[in-house]
């Protein structure tokens, strides 16, 4: 695929899940650069150019954010809320990629304006399938919000 200039932000604290998600992306020929944030704070720092990412040009935003819900420090729902509240990132495609299928998590995510909610299945083949659809939609078919400058 031709979209390697578009960055994917993967917010994931579990190293196994991180490795497997990267593998699933690779196996689906999604060659985009993947930026990894290991907790909610890191994710927000990246998006808003603060903390460890101070000075980052925030007019470049990821094509899609893959967000786990159970994260250290600031949890995924809170990260999602802050993304939607800030006008720099309010239009950003966010896909929740989580283990939980608690009704409350699904409902809250949609209320906060998530674009997709994917529950990570145990079966890796199913997971690859989900990632394939996700890549197809958010990286190929979807038109990203215009760059802000």
């Amino acid at each position: 695929m031709e979209n390697s200039d578009k960055v994917i932000l993967l917010v994931e604290d579990n190293p196994d899940d991180e490795a497997l998600t990267l593998r699933a992306l690779k196996k689906n020929n999604i060659m985009n650069e993947v930026v990894i944030a290991r907790d909610g704070v890191e994710a927000l720092d990246y998006l808003f150019g603060t903390g460890a990412h101070a000075g980052r040009d925030v007019s470049f935003q990821p094509q899609v954010i893959l967000l786990d819900l159970k994260l250290p420090k600031i949890d995924g729902l809170e990260v999602l809320k802050r993304i939607r509240e800030d006008e720099r990132t309010s239009m950003q495609p966010v896909v929740v990629l989580t283990t939980s299928n608690e009704d409350s998590d699904v409902i809250t995510s949609y209320k906060l304006g998530v674009n997709s909610y994917i529950r990570k299945p145990v079966d890796f083949e199913q997971f690859m399938e989900a990632v394939r659809h996700l890549g197809l939609y958010w990286l190929v078919l979807n038109i990203a919000p215009p760059r802000q400058g």
């Binding site: 899940d17 497997l20 145990v122």
Partner: protein, 425 residues
Amino acid sequence: MTIPGSSRATNRRTLIAFIAVLAGVVSAAAFTLLILQRSYLHSEAQEELQTEMTLLGELSTDALLRSDYAAVEGLVRRWVNRHDYIMQITATMPNGFVLVSEKKASQAKDPLIVHSPVTFNGKTLMTIHTVGDFSISEGGYSSIIVHVSILLLAAIFILGWLLWWILQRTAIRPLENQIAAREEKERELLQRTSDLETALKELDSFSYSISHDLRAPLRAIDGYGHALTEDYGKFLDATALDYVARTRAAAQRMGFLIDDLLALSRMTRRELASRDVDITSLVHDALDRMAQAEPWRNVETTVEGNVHAKGDPSLLAIVIDNLVQNAWKYTSRANHPFIEFGTRKQNGETVYFVRDNGVGFDMQYADKLFRPFHRLHTPHEFSGSGIGLATVARIIQRHGGRIWANGEKEKGATFSFTLASRASV
């Protein structure tokens, strides 16, 4: 909720009000009686005074005829002195000469006035003018009535308190104690409810962390297994590949078990609806689904028509689904598979049942079927995780009903359940 102390105060107030009203009624009655009595007594006294005056006149006639005025005066004075209630008396001669004039008091409270002329042969010899006081006379204010009224009032008060006291002892105290006991129980119940709510919340967060924490490692096992097969499959022999496949299968199976467990716990916490549910069509739907999934199977079915129940539609659908699914599954090796749904009346209750002629089971284990993950057949014989009947039992239980199983090895099984008659769900 009423606090015993305040309820006692209310009781006492009511009693006091009752006594006061009773006393008021008695006083009013006594007062009316007094007034009626009084006017009667008044005229009686008036008449008596008149008679006495006439008598006095007759007594003095003799002296008057003799012109013994001193005797007349003495007679009148003695008479006056003997009668306390006479306030004034004036004896006047026809020529205007006042023979006697006695005045004990200038004003009588309740006057009795008598003019009594003393005549002889049609000639007036003297006129006696008397003013008496009825209130002092013997027939005056009927003190008896006053006394009786006072006594009555006193009796009412005493009886009232006695009544209160007896009620206190025999009825109110025990009642209050009962109320207090019930309130205590209510408080306990509230406490237990809140404990239960806390427990449920804990269960909530417990299942939440299960769904996260247990599934994540399973994903890693399955994912790395997949990676191993894919990337290093060429270095592994068939046995090694089989081991990896088994590892992955086990991980996936555990994933399903966790999901089932979570679904079961969610089911228990869900709010129940209470609507009319068409059970017959639920059975038909379930059978159709099974027939669609395994079109090659030929199962004879009998479904009682027009069976309705009151309950939660989606939960009752799960019940029927599971029972029909089991009947379908466990008749798969029968020669002429047969599944029946019907109802029967038993002690005034409707019993719903699903019967089949499948492998059946040993009655010895009949109650174990309803426990989560308890199975009477191995996965080799029949697939499944053993959560189906546990879910069914929970749903029936939440509907206020009962479920039980009857079976015989190699003959078949019958699953019967009831639902609360008055849908107290």
